[in-house]
């Protein structure tokens, strides 16, 4: 998929944070969920997912999501 946008489905998120682990390692060389450009909030009954301003939509988080909470959707 050459161009895509990231679609979010918080309803299927389990809060595993694989997305944050993958993102933080990719950009900082260190597994550090607090430094990730995607942030999952698990404090409610349902999860919520947001992206920080630094996120460039590279999709590394999507590649590590096993629950289809993050998906790539082709553009164009």
């Amino acid at each position: 998929m050459e161009k895509f946008t990231i679609r979010v489905n918080p309803g299927s998120c389990t809060g595993c944070l694989l997305c944050q682990l993958a993102c933080s390692e990719h950009y900082t060389g260190s597994f550090n969920p607090s430094a990730a450009r995607v942030q999952v909030d698990v404090s409610g009954i349902d999860c919520s997912i947001r992206f920080t301003e630094e996120c460039n939509g590279c999709g590394v988080c999507v590649d590590y999501c096993f629950y289809e909470a993050l998906r790539k959707e082709a553009v164009g």
Binding site: C13, C16, S30, F31, S34, V42
Partner: protein, 615 residues
Amino acid sequence: MTMGGFAGKVLYVDLTQGKIRQEPLDPVIAQKFIGGLGLTIKLAYDRITPGSYALYPENPIVLGAGPLVGTSLPATSRVYAVTKLPASGTVGWCGGGGGNFGCQLKNAGYDQVVIEGRADRPVFLKIIDDRVEIDDARSLWGSGVEEGCEELWKTVGRPAGVLSIGPAGENLVSFSMAYIDRLSTLGRGGFGAVMGSKNLKGIIVKGNGGIRVADRKGYKDLSETLFQRIRDYPYLKEWQDLGLLKSLPLVPVEVYENIKKRRIACVSCPIGDKDVVEIPDGKLKGLIVCSTSAANLLTPMIYGFQDYREAVRCIAILDELGLDMFEFFGVMGFAKSLCDQGIISKDRIETEIRLDSLSSLETWAKKISLREGLGGVLADGFKGILKEFGEEVKRYAPPVVKGLIPYVGPKAPLAWSLFGTMELGQVLDPRGPHVGASGSPTYFAKRPLDVFPRHLDRMGVPQEAIERILLGLGTEKQQLKVGRLLKYSHSWFSILGSLGICARAQINRFYNASLCAELYEAVTGIETDLEGLRERVERVWTLLRMANVREGFTRKDDALPEKWFEEPGFQDYLTGKPAIRQDLEQMIEDYYDEWGWDPKTGIPTEEVLKKLGLT
């Protein structure tokens, strides 16, 4: 020396003096004991005062998370605690799906935490990176597990990992547990009471430091292969959807789908197995419960509950109080038998004991947790009941091993009659009956022996040992040596636990011992091969044995309960013939022998201790 994977520090907390200090992790010790479970056993061995009582201030709690915890490797969030446990008096491991706790602890900079002493008031430990405080918890004392956890989260904001207890732990109930992030249970054997004895309501941790791996390229290659293997697994979706209910169908799938709100995963787990459920109808409509597994929530159905909604509510109550469900039902069943026999007089029973009644069990769970009336006797478990009513009432008790009920057996809650490693492990696990450390291919009934070698190889069993475990394979006289196999169940568990990988079958199936050695090397930078890993786990489990030998526990304490030999008893895994005492005693000797421990006493030989550098 800088190692990858490890956070690099050990946190020491003295609750009596109110003192906190940090020390660098000793890299030589870390290498010798792998990390996680192994290192936690080592630190506990060094800190425990032999002969001390589990609930005395000097009994240390040692917590640890392995070098893979905090990385993205699948299901690497396990947290372990090692301490002397009140139910058995033995030094035991307690393990839990680490939720957020392990990852946050590592990010805060700590591989291990050692907690000693006793605070003069209820406290909680607050860890935010380098800032560590012992804070007042008087306002939290008495709160349930979920309520207490939510309050702790409010003190630092989420995300943060919490390890905490409920009223049962506060009141030193011998079958109280601690909970991670209010849903992962940790501590069959009374770990909750050990925390309670220290006036320690909980620990909250938040970290921002990050975990680096030593060989990024090696890590990436290995982890991508591993993740692809999981993606290709044909039953992935089914396990994700059903969790333990896939192998333990306590209710029809439609019922589960009707109450399932969402699934929860520990950090880095692609097959999350924890649940949020909501009761959709009936008197309990709207009840939302978080649990370590929906299968647990439905366990009361085994004891006769007819309405699954009430079963969910029952376990929610036990979890909120912080009680071990299997032990609670076992103790209540024993107490009921004594009531039926007139041994417990009617004037001591304000509420009739009924194992199939929510209202009865709710009343008794609270009485036990608050030690009210007869509840104060039951709170001390089987030992407490025998002390109160005399040893002669033992004949009405279920089978008991090391003060706890073996929950797998022909007449046990998890009814199962074939005698494999998980069944024998209930006797040989140092903390008593628990099946978590004793998995093997015998987990599946009547699995053909010819597939065993492949599984044993995956678990890291050397070829020459496979030949001792499987005799005459493929012939009419083939034999399976369960005792010898159990050594390698415990070894495999020790590898997983020391690295920080979840031991649940649905996850550990994707790992093998050689891969674990490669991952350890890539993450830590410590040169390791399979043989090196094997030697380290021999050291780990043998030291745990020595921690108990030092307390006076030997072969006599690895005792098979007499009731296992009453009808209907266990059956030989291979032949289906009745498992007789002589055969099971031989398995125990085989187990010791396979470790290089004295077969008659269960004490590690000098030769083995010398070889492992434990003298």
